[in-house]
Every structure is written in C-alpha cells, then in structure tokens.
Symmetry: C2
Subunit: 367 residues, 2 copies
C-alpha cells in the first residue's frame, strides 16, 4: 500500500529550505537523501526509498533525484515526474510518493545531502562527480552500479572510482537479486549492503529495508560488488547450456562453478573478501536469477544456436543496448592472462574462448 | 562412446570365481563393486560405474547389481538386463557395459564385494541388510539414498541407519545435482562425496568420477546428506512462488533462505558440518536444479493454484508415487517444535504451515 503524505508545502520551497532542514532537531541531525540517476533501477529504488524515509525519523522526508533532462512528448521529464510522481519513460506505471523530487540540476539536487545513492551508468561518473558540490559534511555514498573497470592489469571497483572522484567519501554498495520491475511492484526479494563502515552499512540498511525488500549487510564491499559484476559472465555460460538444449544438472554445475570462480577472483585481487558474501543475496541469489532470467543468458542462448554475431544478436534482442557480460568476459580474460592465472579459472576462460575465439559452444562442458 | 569389453567368459563363471578374483594381483587387492538397487538412479549409476571400472586398475571388472526380481513381458528383469544390458523397466534406452551383472539373489550379489553402493528406497534397509553376508573384510559402503528419518526428537541419517545395520561399516554418501536420466545420457554434471574416512572418500571418487560426472569430496557426511534430504522442503516453497506467479527475485530469495536454513539445521544436529559443503554440488547446485525442475516444485505449484489436496495432486501428477518434500517438511517441523526452534527456521515452518495448516500460500513471502 502506497503511503502518500501531504508534502507539497515543503516541495514548493524545497531548494531554499533544504540546508535549513538539516538543522538539528531535538539534537539529532536528520539524513538527507539524494538519488543520482533515474533509469529503470534508479526509479525502482526511488519508490522504495521515498516511502521508507516517510516512516523513519532519522531521515528527512524529501528525497531528491537527479534526472538527466529529456523531452518526453514535448514536456520535461523532470516536470512529468514532479507532477505525476511517475517516471513515465523508464518505469511507467509505478507511482512514487510525492516526496521524491526530480531535479535536472545536479548541483542543486545534491545540495545538503548526507546520503548519496549512485545509480547510473558508471561511464558518467568521471563527468558528473566534479559537478557535485554542496553536500553536507560527512556525506556518505552507496553504489548500486553493477559493473567493473580494469586498469594496470587488475580490476577497479566502481565504488573505488566514486570514492576517488568524491574526495575519499565512504562508499558502500547495494547488490542483490533485484530485477527492477519486480522490486518496483513490491514483489518480495532481498538485497545485500556491502560496507566498510558498519555505521554506514546500517544507515543504508535502514534506508532501503522494507517488508518486500529485505536488506542484509556484510563487511565486504569488494566481494559484494564483484558478485554483481561477474555474474554476467556466468550467465553467458548458462545461456550456452540453454542454447545447446542441456539439462538442469549441467546448468546448475555451471552456476556453481561460476560462483566458486567469482569468489576466487575476488579473493585474488582484494583483501577482506568473505566466504559468507557468496551465500548472500548478492551472491547465489542474484546469480541464479541472472542465469535463468537475464538478458546475458538470453543473448548467449541465441549465440549458441548460431543466430549471429554478438553485434547482430544485441541489435536483434536488446534494442541497441550492449551486453555487460561479453565486455566483462573480455576484461577478465585479459587480466587472468596477464597474471598467468588462466588455469585456475577454467569456466571464465572457456566462456571467453567460446564467445570470442571461435571455440565450439559444446566445449562449455569440457572444463 | 561406450566401451564394451569381451567379458562374457568371466560372466559365465561369475559367482564361482568372484572370491578368487579378489586374490592379490601384483600385491594389490582389487576393489569389487556391488550396486544394491536398480531403479532409475541405480541404473544410471550402473552405467557410470560399469564403464569406469573397466578403465581403472584398482577395480575388478565385474560389477554386480542386486535387482528386485520383476516380471517384464513374461521375462525376468534380471535376464533382460543380463542379455540386453539395459534396464528396460526403469531406464529404457540406456545401455550398460556388459560387465554389469544383474542378480536377484542378494546374498550372491554381495558375495566378495569390497564396495557397496546403496541406491534403493531406505524403507527396505531394515529388511535387506540382515540378508547381506559374504562381503570381503573391510567392505565399505556409499549411500546414494536421499531422505531422512526422525527418532527421539532428532534426525537420523540414512548413512547411519546403514552403518548400524551393517556392523558399523564405514559409510560415505554421494549427493548432487544429478537428475538420473541426464546422468545416464552423459550430460555434464557434478556430484559430491561426503566422507568420514578420506581414503574411502577417494576410492568412491575414483569409482564415480568421469568427464561428464565430476566428483568433489568433502569430509562432511551429515552436511552432504542433509542437503539431499532437505532440498525438497525448499522446492515446495519454490513451487508455491511459481504457483503464485511471482518473479525470479522472489524464487531466488526462497532458494537462498532455504540453503541457509539447511545449513543451520545440519549444524544444530550434527558436529563437523562445514560451510563449504553448501557451495558444493550437493548444496546449491542440487537445490537450484530441484527448485526449477523437480516434482516437489511441480506439485507445490499445483497446490498453490488450488488444484487439490496433496493426495489428489500426487495421484494426478505422480502416477501414484508419493512426494518426499511434504513428508520431510512434516518431520522437520515436528522436530523444530520439539526443540523450540521454530523462530530460527521461518521458511521451513512457513512451508509446513502452508502445506498442512491452512495458512495462505501468499504468506510464503511474509517471513
């Protein structure tokens, strides 16, 4: 049930009063949330967070959402969101509580924020981070971005990119089996907050957790984030199995080996990675969901059936979007070769060979 | 490719020469295998084991299989198996190597055996174990039986039942994501041997392992065996989700919580249970397979859709067979209530309430 509050008075003077609203109330400074990004996943999260803050005393009621301005049927997307409380372009049919305020001006959107939610393609980080000024002192961030970069022969966490671009700000991550549309429809699911600072992990848990979106926490940013990044490689393997018409046994084996290699990869490059992480929602649950339902699986199935090159399959099935799994598979294979660690990652390497080196798809099971 | 050896001479005089064949050869006594049971899974395993022993020096070539005698189209099932090298009743279309010898006489079948493979409904154990005599000294067993018994408010492992009925014989277990027909078709999959004796675990690994059936080992009989027994409860929960039309997120969450409760249950009742066990094929891989493909899932989906009582659904969908998951769910709920541990197992308890106490199926997500 959507709880809608009478918040229009606050909204009207939002920018002017934002800093003022951060003043101590009863000795306790409230947390002020800003969501950076407004695609499908950002909008689903805006629905959850917008509703949660109204319920919980430690948060300001207003949640700002930075929206990359677009014209939709002759209107500004931000105006539509603020009038109709719905992102008609990226999450149509789902209403936000009206305390979620879209803002096309990044500097204005983050003004006074103490909690930043990064949920946008990570390619934009380098460009937008320098524009972000005016957050409150001690502002902390959480990254919902699933992806990974590679530099100097090793992986770079997106959370670390954010940290570097935000003057060393503490960055937690949120990853899990969270198909955006299902989260937005309040279907029951779980997610995992990986933290470096326990206090910050707990704040983000309170911000996101609700009966239909259960948040676990674990002191392992790298493990949680790498689960979200590497699952798409495994999903290619699962899709190859589907394309070959192999049974459930085989797919389950690929999923299991994939999770083991994900853990091994994470431990190889980052200290403090915990075994428990891979049993959390970000680990096995997200992997299972992705290997049965995701677009990497779907495109890999088409590839195994000989329906074209990756470019052709993407064009046909993804409406111009690009696959994450193929990019990550390439990067991971490059890093493993550089380190001479191919033999320890037979599944990751085999998926790369099938996807890019002409190896027979049927070799997915000859590990 | 099936490797068939010229073995008929040995077969002709099998019973007479069996003990003789155990004599030291080059100082090394060969292991002699007997399979106790010949259903769908027993027959699939007979195909794997029959082929493997021909390849590996430490095993006798002949593998006996105790078959409960049945009449099939006017012929003895054992005669059909020995002439056609195929169990036409329980695994039609799959050929054994001809060193697999069916025997309806249990005492004769186990004569001289050093390795026993138990793969039959565990209800028969009490009746057949006392008939088994004549194994070689130091004979060891492996149980492929998925199930669990309860006694005096706690679970009893089937491997322990076997041990008790077999004069304290060492008993390993084999569990994994192993749909019998797919294993028999040589589709790639994995399985896990849980052992108490490392040497015995390794012997069974050598006996079962082949390129399409990869065997991992772990020093944890109880953990491995409980994965195989409790997965069917979780599969009911997965089936409820499917029947309600819930999405992949929700089902992944149920699978994850189910694996966590399985681990907690195992640790509560047995010492030495290892976290790693739940990342092996017997753990997450078998659970995933069962929650997407098994009959417990299928029947629970029908139950959630209101298609009848359990008895009616079993009659309609299982051709008279009974579900394992509902029986186990009842037993586990009883044990948890006896111990006052209901609160620590919200998923197991909720599945029981839905299945047997009239709780709404939709409450599967209100944990």
């Amino acid at each position: 049930m959507l709880r809608v509050t009478l918040f229009s008075a606050v909204l009207a003077a939002a920018s002017a009063t934002r800093l003022e609203s951060l003043r101590l109330r009863g000795g306790q400074q409230k947390e002020k949330v800003c969501i950076i990004g407004s695609g499908n996943w950002g909008s689903a999260i805006a629905k959850i967070v917008g509703r949660n803050v109204l319920d919980r005393d430690q948060f300001e009621d207003e949640v700002t959402m930075w929206v990359f301005q677009e014209n939709v049927d002759g209107k500004n997307l931000t105006d539509i969101i603020n009038n109709e409380h719905e992102n008609v372009k990226y999450l149509p049919g789902v209403k936000f509580t009206d305390n979620v305020v879209a803002d096309p001006d990044l500097t204005n959107a983050v003004q006074g924020a103490t909690l930043l939610i990064f949920v946008l393609p990570h390619q934009f980080l380098g460009r937008i981070c320098p524009q972000m000024t005016g957050m409150a002192k001690g502002c902390r961030a959480v990254s919902l971005i699933k992806g990974i970069e590679f530099e100097n022969g090793g992986p770079v966490l997106i959370s670390n990119l954010i940290k570097e671009n935000m003057n060393g700000m503490d960055v937690s991550v949120l990853m899990g089996a969270n198909v955006a549309n299902e989260v937005a429809q309040d279907e029951f699911c779980e997610s995992t907050v990986g933290f470096k600072s326990k206090a910050n992990g707990e704040i983000f848990q309170k911000l996101f957790d609700c009966p239909t979106f259960r948040i676990g926490t674990i002191n392992d940013v790298a493990g949680v984030e790498l689960c979200g990044a590497l699952k798409n490689i495994v999903a290619l393997g699962a899709g190859f199995c589907d394309g070959l018409g192999l049974g459930g046994n085989t797919k389950a084996a690929i999923i299991r080996i994939g999770l083991k290699e994900t853990a091994k990869f994470a431990k190889m490059f980052f200290s403090g990675v915990q075994d428990d992480t891979f049993m959390e929602s970000c680990g096995l649950a997200d992997l299972v969901t992705t290997c049965f339902g995701g677009r990497n699986r779907k495109c890999a199935e088409a590839f195994a059936k000989g329906e074209g090159t990756w470019d052709e399959i993407e064009a046909k099935l993804l409406n111009g979007q690009k696959l994450q799994g193929t990019i990550t598979a390439k990067d991971v294979a490059t890093v493993l070769k550089t380190k001479g660690k191919e033999a320890e990652f037979p599944l990751f390497m085999r998926i790369h060979e099938i996807a890019f080196e002409g190896k027979a798809v049927s070799s997915i099971i000859d590990l």
